[in-house]
C-alpha cells in the first residue's frame, strides 16, 4: 500500500520514538510493524530524514552498527517529540472523523 501524502514524516518520527535507528533500520521497522502493509519507497526516505534533521526534529550521529560498520543513527529531539505527539493526535482525530463518516454511510 502506498503511503498517503505527508504521513512519511509521522512514520519516521514514530519509528525512532523508542530508540535511535539508522535509515535502513527505519525503513525495515516501518515495514515490519505494519506487517508489510505499508511500503516505504526507500529512495524517498533519505530526503525526508535530511529535511527533518534540518527542521531540528531529529538529530543524527555516527556510530558503529551491530555488524561493526559506521552508520548514521537518527534520534528524536525534544522538539521532534512534541511534533510527534501533536501529529499523532491530529492523525487520530482525522481518522476518527473519517471513520465516523464512513460508518454512518
Amino acid at each position: 500500500m502506498e503511503l498517503p501524502q505527508g504521513t512519511l514524516d509521522l512514520l519516521i518520527l514514530k519509528a525512532i520514538a523508542l530508540e535511535r535507528q539508522h535509515g535502513w533500520g527505519i525503513s525495515e521497522r516501518i515495514q515490519q510493524i505494519s506487517n508489510d502493509t505499508l511500503k516505504v519507497n526507500q529512495g524517498s526516505l533519505y530526503p525526508a530524514l535530511h529535511r527533518l534533521e534540518r527542521r531540528g526534529w531529529i538529530r543524527a550521529a555516527w556510530d558503529v552498527s551491530d555488524n561493526n560498520r559506521r552508520a548514521k543513527y537518527y534520534q528524536l529531539t525534544t522538539k521532534g517529540r512534541r511534533q510527534l505527539e501533536e501529529r499523532v493526535d491530529a492523525w487520530r482525530s482525522l481518522t476518527a472523523a473519517v471513520n465516523l463518516l464512513l460508518d454512518q454511510g
Partner: protein, 875 residues
Amino acid sequence: MLSDLMYRLRVLLRRRTAEQELKDELEFHLEHQAHKYVAAGLTHADAARRARLDFGGVDQVADACRDARGIGLIDTTLQDIRYGLRGMRRRPTLALMAIVTIALGTAAIGAEASLADTLLWRHWRADDADSLVSIGAIRGGSRTDGAVSYPDYVAFRDRATTVSALAAHYSTAPLFVAVNGTAREVNGAVVSANYFPLFEMHPALGRFFGPEEDRVPDRDHVVVVGYDFWQSWLGAAPSAPGSALTINGVAFTIIGVAPRHPVGLTPLPVDLYIPTMMLRVGYRWCRDSLAGDCTTLGMVGRLVPGRTVADAQAEFAAIVPPAWRSAPPGENRGVAVRRPRGMSDDDQESRLVAVLGGVAVVLLLVCCANLGGLLSAQSAARENEFAIRVSLGAGPGRIVRQVVTESLMLALAGGAGGLVLSRFFVAALARMFFSMDDEGHPLFYDFSPSSTIVLATIAAAALAGILFSVLPAIRAVRRPRTAHTARRTVSARWSTGRALLGAQAAAAVALVATSALLGSSARLVLTGRNYDTAHVALMRVRPRLVKYTPERAQRFQREALQRLRAVPSVESVSMVGVGAVLGGGSTTATLPGSSAARLTVKYNEVGPAYFATLRTPMVAGREFDDHDTRDSTAVAVVNQALANRLWPDGRAIGSTIVIGNTPRQIVGIVADLAMTARTQPADLWAYTPFWQNPGQIDSRIAVRTAGDPESWLPELARAVHQVDPDVPIAETITLPMRMAGLTRPIRVGAVFIGYAACLAMLLTAIGLYGALAFAVSRRTKEIGIRLALGAARAGLIASIVREGVTVVLAGASVGIVLAVAGSRVMSHLLYGSPSDDWKFYAAAASVVVAIGALAALLPARRAAAVEPSIALRQE
C-alpha cells in the same frame, strides 16, 4: 529558524565531509538491503541489483537529499558555473560576442543612470546630506520663485526651530575681479557666515569669515577664494591670505582658501565667497541689495534631529517676514521646503533623462533579442549534450538552470564591462555637453559613480541575462524529446528567430529615425532658420558691476560700438539690452484703448542693425537705425506672429502698440524665429530700440565678422577695453557656441540615441547573418539536392536574401510606427515642421533594410557555393 540557518551553515562549511557522509549513508543502506536478500538466498550480484532497484536512482536520491538540506542550490550552481566556463572555452567567439553585446547594452544603462543620478537624484556631497533642506519662496504674479531678500532671510532664520543654522547664499554672482594686473569676471557666491559650518567645510588655507564679519553692512571687506582660483590667479601662494584684490571695483582682503572640493549648490563653480553684508557689492541690480524688496538669496539649512521636512514646511509656512505683509496681495504665496536633489532644475532635462531611460531599456531589449536568437540557434548544436544529460537523469529544471546560469555568467561579465565602458561614455558626455553653459561659463557636474549606478547596471545585466536565456532554455528542454525530428524543426525555429529579428530591425529603424530627428532639430536651432549664427561673435559688457550711471554707461556703449565697427573683418555690430542675443525677457503688449486683450509677449531692446547682424529678414518696414533715439518717436518692431495676431488684416505697419505702458509706433515686421519646440505655439515678439531706454546700462553685443568669429574674440574684447579698461567684459563666445549650450538636451539625446541606433543596426545585421548562416548550414543537404537538380545559383542567392530582407522590411514598417510614436513623446525636444519627418522615417528604414540585405548576402553566397557532391555526402 536559527537552527535551520546554523544547519545550513554547518553543512555548507563542511561540504566535503557532508558529501562523503551522504555517500556513506546511502551505501550503508544498499549494503544492508543486499545483505538481506543474500540471507534470503539470492546471489551477491542479484542481491545488489535488487537492492538498487528497491532504492531507485542513487544520484537522484542524493540530489533530493542535498535539496532537502538546502545546499543543493549552491552546490549545483557551482557545478553549473564550472560547466559553463568549460562551455565558454569551447565556444569563445560566441561567449565573447555575448559579453561584448551586453557590455555595450549595459553601458548605455550605466551612462543613463549616471546622468539621472547627477542631474536628478543625487544629494549634495556633504556630510549627513540627508538632513539638508533648501527653502524657497513661492511667488505669484511676475516674480520668480525661490529667492528671498536679506530681511526675509533674517526673519526665517531667527524664528525657525525645526531647521538649525539656516544659511543664505547667492551662488551665481557675477563678480568682476582684479588682482595682479588681470581683471576678469568670475562666478562668486555671497554667503552668510554660517554657510561654511553648515556643510562642515574646512579651509584649505587661512580661515572662513565668522559671524562678526557678517554683522554690519558694508564694513568687513573679506573674501574667501576658491581653490582653483587660488591656484590659477594667485599661483597657489601660501601668503595669499592677507593680500588684496578688487571685486566690482571695491577693495577686499583675502582671508582664506576654500577646500578643493567644496559643496557645490549649482553647476557653476564658485571662485570667490563674500559675506552677505557685502551684498551691495555682490549684487548690483537693486537700489539697495540688502533691502526687503531685493530678492536674491537662497536658503539652506539642516533639519534639527528628529524633525522632518513636513515639520519644517509647516513651521516655515507660518512665518511671514515683515516685508511680505506690505507686499501686494498674492505676490508671496508661501514657502517650499525640500530636500535638494540633483543638479538640474530644468524640466526639459528631467524629461530628457526619462526618454533616454526608455531608449536604454529598448537597447538592452534589442541586445537580449539578439543574444536569445543567437544562443538558441547555438544550443541546437548542443542538443546531443542535453540529450545525454537528460538520459543520465537530469530533470528539465536542472537543464534550464544550467542554461540560465551560463547566460547569467555571460551577462554579468558583460555588465562588469558595461560598467567600465559607461564611465568612458559619461566622461565623453560630460566633456561634450556639461563642461560649459550657454554663456561660456565653465561648469562642474559631479559625474563620479555612486552605488546606485553600479547596482542599476549590474541589475540590468542580470535581468538581461535571465531574459536572453529564456528562449535557449525552452529550446534545450524541448529539444531532447524531439531530437530525432530535429532536422525538420528548422523552419519552426526560424519563425521565432524571425520575430526576434523583426523586433530588432523595428527598434533599429525607430532609433535611427529618432536620433536623426533630434539631430536635425539641434542643427536647425544651431545654424538657424530666419537667422544665421555662423560668423557671429558675442560679448557681454556690464558697467553696472562697477556702478556706472546710465549716462556714463551709454556713452561707453556708443564708443565701444564704434571701436568694434572699426575692427577689420567686422561687418556689422549690434546689441541687446535684455537677456541674451536671440533671447530676451517678457512684457505685455496690447492695442491702445483695449485693455482686455493684454498679451504676454517676448521682448527685447535691440540696437540698430540688430536683424541685419543676425540676418533675420524683415517681412515689412524697417528695423531700428541711428535715428531712433530718446528724442524721436517711440517705435517698435514686432514679429510676424504678433502682427498676425493683433492685425489679422495685415495693417500693422504704422499702427500703435502699447508695450508695457508705452505706446509705440510699429515701423517694421520681422520674420519668426524657429526657436520654439513643436509643443509650443510660435513666440510673439516685440522689440524696442536700445537707445530709447534711458535707464539701460548693460548690454550683450553681437558682432558679425568675415572670418571665424572665435579667432576674432580676443581682438574684439581688446577693442572694447581700449574704450574703458574698467568695464567688465564677459561671456566672450560665438553664437554657435551659445546655441549649442541652449540645445544641450537635444544634442545629448541625439548622441545617446544615435549610439543606440548604431548598436541596434549592428546587432540586427549580426543577428540576421547568424540566423541565415545557421539555416544555410542546416540545409546544406537540401541546397545540394536543389543544385544537383539544376537550380540556378543566382536564384538561390536571391531567395535567401529575400528571406532575410522580408523579415527586416516587416520590422522596418513596425519601426516607423514606433518612430512616429517616439517623436510624439519627444516633441518638446523637436523643432521645425513635422511635415518633413517622413523623410527621416524613409531614410532610416532604407538604411536598416540595406544593411539587412548586406548581412543576408554573405550566407546566401555561401549557400550558392555549396558543392552538390560534397553536400550530398554529408551524414
